[in-house]
Symmetry: C2
């Protein structure tokens, strides 16, 4: 299943692994795919440290970095991160903060030891994302940049391509595929509604081929619902140039996660996820729990838009991650994951997952070939 | 792509076409697949007439009949259709009837010429479905029976199998697959959330392989999101034994439908469908319109369960079908269809659709094979 993107990136298999863990990035690239580090949760200093480690461990292999630069968001136009954040805070109703804090308290989520809140903006605006991008562009082995949400601004596309790297972006609708193609992106990640994180609601089996058609030759990577080699083959059958996987890497041996969080994921069925705006302000698929139910219940505050809801939920994201195994933390924790979570029931090494994908792919292709009259 | 089910049914391709139109049934079987007539909208007398016609036209080829026998429904236990219906009517709030009738009136949907309402129960209970099944079992060329909703009762499974026919049923959840397998069904139709009509919310790409695993060797037909041969190949890659298609046949040349209804379908995108309980009482995917929006809006009556909501909506189903092109009928019409509707933009002959599926399948398989190192 070697495609043109493999040649351009110098990788063996078109398996793109989105992860927040540097160890997984390195292990996937070493197994013949390519690891893509999700940078949104890091400060520029933290990202520098992560990339230093990756550069040291990965040998001569390539990797990617995924950032989030929305094209439009409330408060857009301001440039200094500090000023922007101040202005955004003024748009958040007290009621929302109180509701979020009460949910956390009711579930026994510990406060920070020093009594502070950690309500800072995540890297979900151009102002906060740009320093992350600049850091990534200093790394010769970082060969691709992906934007997790929307078409990147033209100046960023040019900057990335002029540096000799590939730039792509995620999407869940045909009109977004067209916008990505217009912007001259090098690849497009088409995510069906099954997928974890920000997602549309058209299913992969329907959306992937529509994306391939709309991309008019720009390679499309299939996302949303890929956890086995059979699913990779389905994506290739539908004209995709590779697989963009995320959920698959949350529970591997190398993934940094609290045991309680891994446990939540390993025991979840495909019916246990929901698309909810309760964490980021945009529809995002995650494990269903008390937090998602509370923000959907009539009479309770409705989630704000992006990035305002992120200000409301940011403290909860950090506290439930830090204290994942304490009290009922998991019932109000942010666990973005796709429906494919139902297939993932045991911890595997990253290397094994990549090899399993390939073996399953080859076996499935053989089986399909055997159904043809000549066989 | 010949599978065991093909042998058992004496068909060329494992393409199962669910349709309410007898002409489509015959044309699909003649093209090498198998047509399956949806019987739920017919009285036993009407079904007799349809099957007479099919038997006359189809030569020696096989076909199937699809019925709806829910295992559980409100009012279950009553047996006489008349008594059951009377009892069910007593459970329907006046408010719901008034709300439905006002929606129809507000959109200029004509009343019946004689001023009557046609509010009768559709064949959605065991009492109403049994006579339909008995009629189908008198036809030697009817080689399969499918239950559109839930595992058929054990006595019906036995009756069908003892008659030498295959029996199967649809489902959208793994636990339903297991129930079907336990009941000894001959095949299981696994429908992803993309599909039209009654559907769960797990996407096809995730649900199909889970269904195949849970079916433990019972053949699984893939439903939900199949409109091209590439999508059939994706289903086969995921271990399915064939494709169960529905939306694809709504707009073919042979399909009986008012021009306005075909037009609504041909121009719809994949984002124009919604899962709604507003017609049948169970989540069912259909074109989004004023009717579905009204029943979802806060403050309005909430849809009742099955089959009560069918009593509320039955008159609307029949009037909007009869007067499909009048006034704003399409805005309150029942148009069950899957997300694949976005791929269907032109009228084709049934025969061409079947041949297109096969050609696309073969081409896609060749392309995938060409990506392997040996090629």
């Amino acid at each position: 299943m070697r495609t043109e993107l493999c040649e351009k990136l110098g990788i063996e298999y078109p398996i793109f692994a989105f992860t927040h863990c540097r160890d997984v990035v390195v292990a996937v690239s070493k197994a013949g795919g390519i690891g893509v580090l999700g940078a949104v949760g890091f400060t520029p200093e933290q990202l520098k440290a992560e990339l230093d480690w990756i550069d040291e461990q990965i040998g001569d292999l390539p990797y990617g970095v995924d950032i989030v630069i929305p094209q439009k968001y409330e408060g857009m136009g301001d440039t200094s991160p500090e000023e922007l954040e101040k202005q955004l805070w003024s748009m958040v109703p007290e009621e929302h903060i109180a509701f979020a804090q009460k949910l956390l308290a009711d579930h026994g989520v510990p406060e920070w030891p020093d009594g502070t809140k950690s309500m800072g903006l995540l890297g979900w605006t151009e102002a906060t994302a740009t320093p992350l991008l600049m850091e990534a562009l200093t790394r010769p082995k970082c060969r691709l940049i992906a934007n997790a949400l929307g078409t990147p601004p033209a100046d960023k596309v040019k900057m990335i391509q002029d540096s000799g790297r590939l730039v792509g972006a995620l999407c869940g609708k045909v009109k977004q595929v067209k916008a990505h193609k217009e912007a001259g992106l090098d690849f497009i990640v088409a995510q069906g509604g099954e997928g974890g994180g920000h997602t549309g609601d058209v299913g992969s089996i329907v959306f992937w081929p529509q994306a391939v058609a709309a991309a008019e030759g720009v390679p499309v990577l299939a996302a949303g619902g890929i956890g086995t080699g059979q699913q990779v083959l389905a994506a290739m059958a539908l004209g995709c140039a590779g697989a963009w996987t995320g959920s698959l890497w949350l529970t591997v041996e190398e993934a940094h996660a609290e045991p309680a969080q891994k446990e939540s994921l390993l025991k979840a069925s495909s019916e246990d996820t929901v698309r909810s705006r309760s964490w980021t302000g945009k529809p995002c698929r995650m494990l269903k729990n008390d937090w998602t139910e509370a923000w959907a219940a009539p009479g309770n505050p409705e989630p704000l838009g992006m990035p305002l809801q992120g200000l409301v939920s940011g403290d909860g994201i950090r506290r439930t991650a830090k204290y994942a195994s304490v009290g009922d933390c998991q019932k109000v924790a942010f666990n973005p994951v796709g429906q494919v979570v139902g297939q993932i029931n045991q911890v595997e090494s990253t290397r094994n997952v990549v090899f399993r994908l390939i073996t399953e792919y080859v076996d499935a292709l053989e089986r399909v070939n055997s159904l043809m009259p000549e066989a």
